[in-house]
Subunit: 241 residues, 4 copies
């Protein structure tokens, strides 16, 4: 969601959503098939892998290093930290094993939908996937989005209210991969799942919640995180629907 917020802030809603869709997807997060099936071969939403790669390619900086620096700064603003750092071991592992993401990126390139150097964009993507965030960071990120982009710790307006609102909406419909629909029924809060087992949730106008649990279900969502979020939502009445 960090790069999505950054892209919406720097490029505007129209430009971003002409390059990626806003549709939830009943397919795994790394499916190439759907990209090939559905002309014009546009990623279905900005939170699946192909969409996240596309969003990074759109960012209005030429060099990969500049793009990543902007992503880092947005991450720091959203989480209220001095700086957002990557975990080098995770980064090297992602780079080593990210072959499906390479396939997705080259496919997008082959249909003319990806601008720029593929390996350079993938490198930014692998770096972004390696940004470290503990539970508290995820909670602050969620709280900032919940507070219309104003970080409740630092008081800084990390992103405009309109951007925060769109990001919350996309989180609600697509944030938990192909488990998003089920999560809406069982928990009912905009949330974004990360491949490392983290979940950042934003209850509009009320709070942010961070969760982390290493065991993932087959859709890539933290098992413990889902259970905790469900209980919390019921006890505190956090549903938006």
């Amino acid at each position: 969601v960090v790069s999505l917020a950054l892209a919406l802030d720097t490029l505007g809603e129209e430009k971003v959503f002409s390059a990626v869709g806003m549709a939830a997807l009943a397919d795994p997060f790394n499916s190439i098939m759907r990209l090939e099936m559905d002309a014009p071969h546009r990623p279905h939403n900005p939170l699946i892998n192909s969409g996240a790669i596309m969003v990074l390619s759109l960012l209005p900086w030429r060099e990969g290093a500049e793009k990543f620096k902007a992503v880092q700064e947005m991450a720091a603003r959203l989480m209220g930290k001095k700086s957002a750092e990557i975990d080098t071991a995770v980064y090297l592992s992602e780079k080593e094993t990210g072959n499906r993401n390479r396939a997705l990126a080259w496919f997008l390139k082959s249909v003319g939908n990806l601008e720029g150097d593929v390996e350079e964009i993938l490198d930014v993507y692998f770096r972004q996937c390696s940004l470290t965030a503990n539970c508290e960071d995820l909670a602050v990120l969620g709280a900032t989005l919940a507070a219309d982009g104003k970080n409740p710790l630092t008081g800084e307006q990390a992103a405009p209210p309109g951007v925060a609102r769109i990001v919350r909406t996309i989180m609600a419909t697509c944030g938990m991969y192909d488990g998003s629909g089920e999560f809406a029924v069982s928990v009912g809060i905009p949330a974004k799942s990360g491949v490392g087992g983290g979940i950042a949730a934003a209850v509009p106008g009320r709070m942010g919640v961070g969760a982390w649990g290493p065991s993932l279900d087959k859709r890539g969502n933290s098992v413990a995180g889902l259970a905790m979020m469900k209980q919390l939502s019921e006890e505190l009445g956090l549903r938006i629907y």
Copy 2:
């Protein structure tokens, strides 16, 4: 949403969602392909055609006539009318031209997921699709769901609060067919689109909205209805996200 509310009320959440999913679908509402691709060949959600047919088959009455009577009564309760009637011309037309729905139903039957007599269930489905509702009816239906199932006109509890909440959630994620994700961003209200050009929206705790416009976009949603809902949502601040 009428038969979904009825099924949730009479069968419970668990039974309904073991037969149909809760996933938004980036495919047209009448796609058979997705049913065949994804074992166990369960409709992805209760609001696409295959899911609606499945929900009707689950209803705990043996005869088609009884099932439809229960659907009619639930529709009347939700809309605050003495009775909900079908438009015979629409019904005959649906029955005449509903061959894709026949294909969907026979496919579900062939994989062992549909109980009962296929033609009888289809007949209930075609009748349900022919239930008449004007804008006001749709608005009251939305308002009843928004008020946790209590019809604001009649004061009757048409459906339990938990059922109304689930129905609102499914409307939010799947109610506008494969345009649901885009509708969430542009309008941000739980809503259900009908093939006849109607839209019923439920703003939780606040109001229901009915819209009707005969011109449909390629996804099957009313063009005028979408435009009106967007403007209304912005002017009155109705977004839930």
Copy 3:
């Protein structure tokens, strides 16, 4: 292949192959998905279920009973029998359990590709699937096709040479369902597999071979039939490639 020969004979190559394709299919014989994916939703070849149903619908007789009578007569001519009879138990079972075929037929109807009454065409299809043929019948059928349509037992020209040639070609590329490519490499003879465990093979200009074995592999081909055909092809040098 009986109804294909009949259709080619009565309607001509052009008309038949504007309604069904000639492409081998790497999908199961009863897949609806491929029909939906590939506009104009034309069955990929006349030997998969949807294609066979389509071919029957094309036959230039109005009533189902007349169509089936013509199929029976062609079957008898090809097999050199007085008459070709159906196995009533098989017919009733096919009719009872043929729901996937119903789904295929209604799908074809829904996209406007199937003329006539769906249930009536399906009934002809179920009857055709129930035509009895022992090993000798299958061998004579193969020999007739191998001899350019002239039945070697009766001396009758059951079908024109050009029709026999096309049927042999379609058998070679599509006759063993999605195992056709593998069969070409391992056996290398035009052959048609039946759901009941039979195989009829036509070695052009040389002979026909009939095989029957009840145990089917996952593609629907007789396990014993495949093994026997492979050995026979090697010993007698029957490959055409």
Copy 4:
């Protein structure tokens, strides 16, 4: 077909066909979708792009340069030339624009089906695609395969008879991409189409035919080549079916 012959010769039928299938494919030659849909994500046949890349990866030489040298030598033997050279302009263009092939290769890598360095294998593939061959070369190649691997010009046994036979069979079922089934009916000869507009055909035991025409139909086959082959097949009675 050059690298397929080489792989069959050096590795044997079993090893090659455990890595790639033998199924004709009713999908475009560069489809990723089918690879993703069908576990175990094995290329459907050795003549589509993904299959050709896979075959090159299997060749029993470690370095890309050695692999390509072996391919060059096999090409020269099959075509009866001193050496087979690449067209540097074509090679650079393939390398520049071959992004879909990169996506295919990385996908195969991501599912664990491709051994070795992806970019190195792709480089061999792009080189192979750039091997020059005029009409006469294609005809000699076809004639060598038709003569069970014995080059009729040089008298050299370029490949074993069993290898030539399998290659002819795969050409017959898959050689014209998704137009293979139609080509079997209209022409009826084992043939391989190349992306540059060439066609090499092998009439078993009789002759080879080379064709070249730059205008391609939507399946990637030479329009003029198809027309010429059809006429030739009819006039000389070359059909194998």
